[in-house]
């Protein structure tokens, strides 16, 4: 499906969609959104890009295999759970927070890191599955 319109559009849509997915991730704690949906949106952005420009181009764009995002994301989520154990001797996965809100993002706590982990795992899983299937097709 290499149409010029889609190809041109996807070039602009990819960064916008990715930004949007991060936006969804960050607002998740207060408004509808979160890591899971954010991750799915980001995956759709890449899938769209792949449809327009071919799988190879998207892979080149990504540089690393999306599968690597899975252990990375799992590690972030896990570490965000371990942090309260080591920092404050609290049970695994207790929420801890910075005292002052960060500019733009707002209040940041371990939950955000956890959600970021979920975000990365979801992108990794979705893209791995879709890329693998389309390669074998």
């Amino acid at each position: 499906m290499k149409t010029l319109i889609l190809k041109t559009a996807s070039g602009y849509l990819l960064p916008v969609l990715l930004l949007f997915s991060v936006f969804i991730l960050l607002r998740g704690h207060y408004l509808p959104g979160g890591g899971f949906v954010g991750g799915l949106v980001a995956s759709i952005a890449f899938v769209l890009h792949a449809f327009a420009n071919g799988l190879e181009n998207t892979k080149n764009l990504l540089r690393i295999h999306p599968g690597f995002l899975m252990p990375f994301g799992l590690a972030i989520a896990f570490i965000s759970g371990l942090a309260p154990m080591f920092l404050y001797d609290l049970p695994f996965l207790t929420g801890i927070w910075f005292d002052e809100p960060l500019p733009v993002i707002g209040m940041v706590g371990s939950a955000l890191f956890f959600d970021t982990g979920v975000f990365l795992v979801v992108i990794g899983v979705t893209l791995t599955i879709i890329f693998t299937i389309s390669e074998s097709a």
């Binding site: 799915l40 994301g73 896990f78 209040m107 939950a111 599955i129």
Partner: protein, 763 residues
């Protein structure tokens, strides 16, 4: 104590990294590991003899009441000394015996793990940690039996041993849990000192079943004995260490441990005496039909284990003294005989007793060890074996059924004496065959350990005080209120002495007249189909067949069948429940009135569904299914669940993309199934949908209990500083669920990747 156990594990792990260096340069150095343990436990001996007990306790899983408590009392010490003492000799022996083997490092690794597990087993006070170590010994034994993993029989024997002892492990776990439930503690000391009389408890027979199941499988009692002869596939040091001196005695240890708690009851006594008696006689007779030295030793070991079980069954103070003494004495001479066999095998390259003769001319120190061990085994004074045999007869004479038990014991001992002569003496006497003339005396590592053990066997007989210092503290733990043990060589002329003489002489006569030959082995092979081994193998084959049928029926590889099975089962469960519990009192007034939007969405859904079912193009079907999904999204939006709607929307998009990717490969026209099947599927779908509808209506009628929802809504901001309750539940309240879910997702992705990539590569 923890340090020693952990040190063994660390050694095993470090062999992974430094194995190559160690096996080439410093294999003998590993002997210092068991030696250090031996010295440590020996240093504790005076303390234990004085009646003190050493304990170390660490929290393990405090929330379940599981402590890692090591408790060194008399009984533990007896076993710990055997484990580390014989371990030292076996480690040293192996460094030469398997010198040429490429996997010597691996072997030492398994052996170290085994030693750690066995020490943990006898030192554990907590029943759960006892179980863990128990299983670990089975597993390390599996690896050691299957050490020659290029041989099919070796692998099969390893698997068989693991199956039988693993089965016993499950019994032990069940026993531990039952004890834990009854006594409300997993600590053995608390169970022992608690006020509960287990012999009067309604679950007593169940407890016995569990403990016996564990002990009989581990200690190779009839009818579970068959794994032990198979385990002789392992290199001889393993047979010496695991399958004669230590691991197989774990079951005996368990019975001794539980003697004060479960013993002194009719069931306990009768079962143990019967099983022990059958095992003794059965295994002792089997030694007659073997020509392989290790085969003979395997069956004589089973018989010896039978004697121990038998003595524990009698359960008097005298019988337990006899059992404990016999454990030490037996370990000394049986380990010697095994090591002697190993050396013969190593030098003469055969273990066939019909071919071996005259080796004393070339292997004199080994011959001395063999002779000494054979004499001790036969119970000739002043060897320690004599004291052991004496006590067995005495215990038998003072039991409730003296005549029968003594007859059984004498027959067994005569046959065992014969077996001992066969292994310890026969290979060394007579004329040396030509083919063995080139044999030279090997490195001292191959003859010093057996000789040392054999001399110890003699020393313990001459100085019985040494034995007493080991046996007495152990007896205090197994028999409550036991007197101080008195062991002597000379009891005067009495019936026991007469019986001993009868045993020694009959054994000699048997040895003189009965020549082992291969015809006897052939004779016994005929009965294999009706032996316990044959029966267990048949059960195994039957299980494989049944599970194959079962698996092929349910896991048939067709997605449609899986879906059909799942839906049918759920329909049945829901239908069954509704049939008996549904009230069918639906009050439609409680349901909100339907709006125009909803009617609109529903009609879109309906059309899309009909399209999905009746279209003749796959792509259309997928697209219409996508429409159904989006319509559901809209419904979520109407019912103010924006998070769900968002997720459903993106998921649906991705699903359609996935489908399109897959469908690309399939033919374009759509004729999936015959009309009959379509009608059947339609029927199932309607039934399922109908049931779900009824269920939903029923649920609505129930008074709403929304405490959980309320809790989350109220506390989301207070406790987790979030305003989006759905997200707070996901990342905070139920964070562990999410963590596990994303892990599962990752595993699924790796699965897809692996499956498809492998297929691409194969093509």
């Amino acid at each position: 104590m923890l340090a020693i156990v952990v040190l063994c594990f660390i050694t095993a792990i470090s062999l992974l990294f430094f194995g190559n260096y160690i096996k080439k340069n410093a294999a003998f150095g590993l002997t210092f590991l068991p030696l250090a343990g031996f010295v440590y436990f020996l240093s504790k001996l005076p303390q234990i003899t004085n009646g003190n007990i050493v304990t170390e306790s660490y929290n393990w899983v405090p929330s379940l009441g599981i402590q890692l408590t090591f408790r060194l009392d008399g009984l533990s010490l007896l076993f710990a000394l055997l484990i580390t003492g014989i371990g030292t000799l076996v480690f040293a022996y192996t460094s030469n015996y398997l010198k040429e083997n490429d996997h010597l490092d691996r072997f030492y690794g398994y052996l170290s793990v085994f030693m750690a597990a066995m020490l943990g087993l006898v030192l554990s006070d907590n029943l759960i940690s006892l179980f863990v170590f128990w299983e670990l010994t089975s597993i390390s034994s599996f690896f050691l039996i299957g050490f020659k993993n290029s041989s099919a029989t070796s692998r099969k024997s390893a698997l068989r041993a693991l199956t039988v002892t693993g089965l016993g492990g499950l019994f032990l776990l069940a026993g531990a849990l039952t004890f834990g439930t009854i006594a409300d503690t997993y600590s053995f000391q608390e169970i022992l000192n608690g006020s509960i009389d287990f012999t009067q408890h309604p679950l007593y027979s169940l407890l016995l079943l569990f403990i016996f199941g564990a002990a009989f499988t581990k200690s190779a009692q009839f009818p579970f004995h068959f794994w032990l002869p198979g385990a002789m596939e392992a290199p001889t040091p393993v047979s010496t260490y695991l399958h004669s001196a230590t691991m197989v005695k774990a079951g005996i240890y368990l019975l001794l441990r539980f003697s004060p708690v479960l013993g002194q009851h009719e069931y306990w006594q009768l079962t143990l005496i019967t099983i022990g008696g059958i095992t003794m006689i059965y295994a002792a007779f089997h030694t007659l039909f073997r020509t392989d030295l290790k085969g003979i030793l395997a069956y004589s070991t089973i018989a010896a284990l039978g004697i121990m079980v038998f003595l524990i069954g009698i359960g008097t103070e005298l019988a337990l003294t006899a059992a404990l003494t016999f454990i030490v004495v037996h370990a000394l001479y049986k380990a010697t005989l095994f090591l002697v066999t190993g050396t013969i095998d190593h030098e003469a390259k055969t273990r066939d007793v019909t071919q071996l003769a005259g080796l004393r001319k070339v292997l004199l120190p080994v011959a001395i060890a063999g002779f000494l061990a054979a004499f001790s085994n036969a119970g000739i004074p002043p060897f320690s074996g004599f004291i052991g045999k004496d006590l067995i007869y005495e215990a038998g004479l003072h039991s409730f059924q003296p005549v029968l038990l003594i007859v059984v014991a004498v027959i067994t001992n005569v046959l065992l004496a014969y077996a001992g002569y066969l292994v310890g003496i026969k290979p060394f006497i007579g004329k040396l065959p030509e083919k063995f003339e080139k044999i030279h005396l090997p490195s001292p590592l191959l003859w010093f350990p057996p000789l040392l053990l054999a001399v110890l066997g003699l020393l313990f007989g001459i100085v019985p005080k040494l034995l007493v210092s080991l046996v007495n503290p152990a007896l205090q733990e197994t028999f409550i209120g036991a007197n101080l043990v008195q062991l002597k060589l000379w009891h005067g002329f009495n019936l026991v002495l007469l019986l001993s003489l009868v045993t020694i002489i009959s054994g000699l006569l048997l040895f003189y007249f009965l020549k082992p030959n291969n015809d006897l082995t052939k004779f016994i092979v005929q009965f294999q189909t009706i032996s316990p081994l044959g029966i267990f193998e048949k059960i195994g084959i039957l299980m494989t067949k049944v599970s194959l049928l079962w698996t092929n029926f349910f896991q048939n590889g067709f997605l449609r069948n899986y879906v059909l099975t799942i839906i049918l089962v759920i329909s049945f469960l829901i239908g069954y429940n509704l049939f008996f519990n549904a009230k069918f009192l639906w009050d439609f007034s409680t349901i909100l009135s339907v709006t125009n939007y909803e009617i609109g969405i529903l009609s879109v859904m309906l059309v899309a569904i009909l399209f999905t079912v009746f279209t003749s193009s796959r792509l259309t079907a997928v697209a219409s299914l996508g429409v159904v999904g989006y319509a559901i999204c809209l419904l979520f939006v109407f019912y103010s669940a924006p998070d769900l709607a968002m997720t459903q929307f993106t998921i649906d998009t991705l699903t359609v993309i996935l489908f399109v990717l897959v469908l690309y490969r399939l033919p374009k026209y759509l004729k999936l199934s015959e009309n009959k099947k379509r009608i059947r599927d339609g029927f199932v779908a309607l039934v399922f949908g109908g049931l779900i509808t009824i269920l939903s209506l029923e649920v609505i009628q129930e008074p709403m209990n929304n405490e959980t929802g309320k809790f989350y809504a109220e506390n989301a901001y207070l406790l987790a500083k979030g305003k989006n309750v759905v997200n707070v539940v996901l990342v905070d309240f139920r964070g562990i669920d999410t963590l596990v879910e994303i892990t599962v997702l990752a595993i699924a992705a790796i699965g897809v990747f692996g499956l498809l990539k492998l297929r691409i590569r194969n093509n």
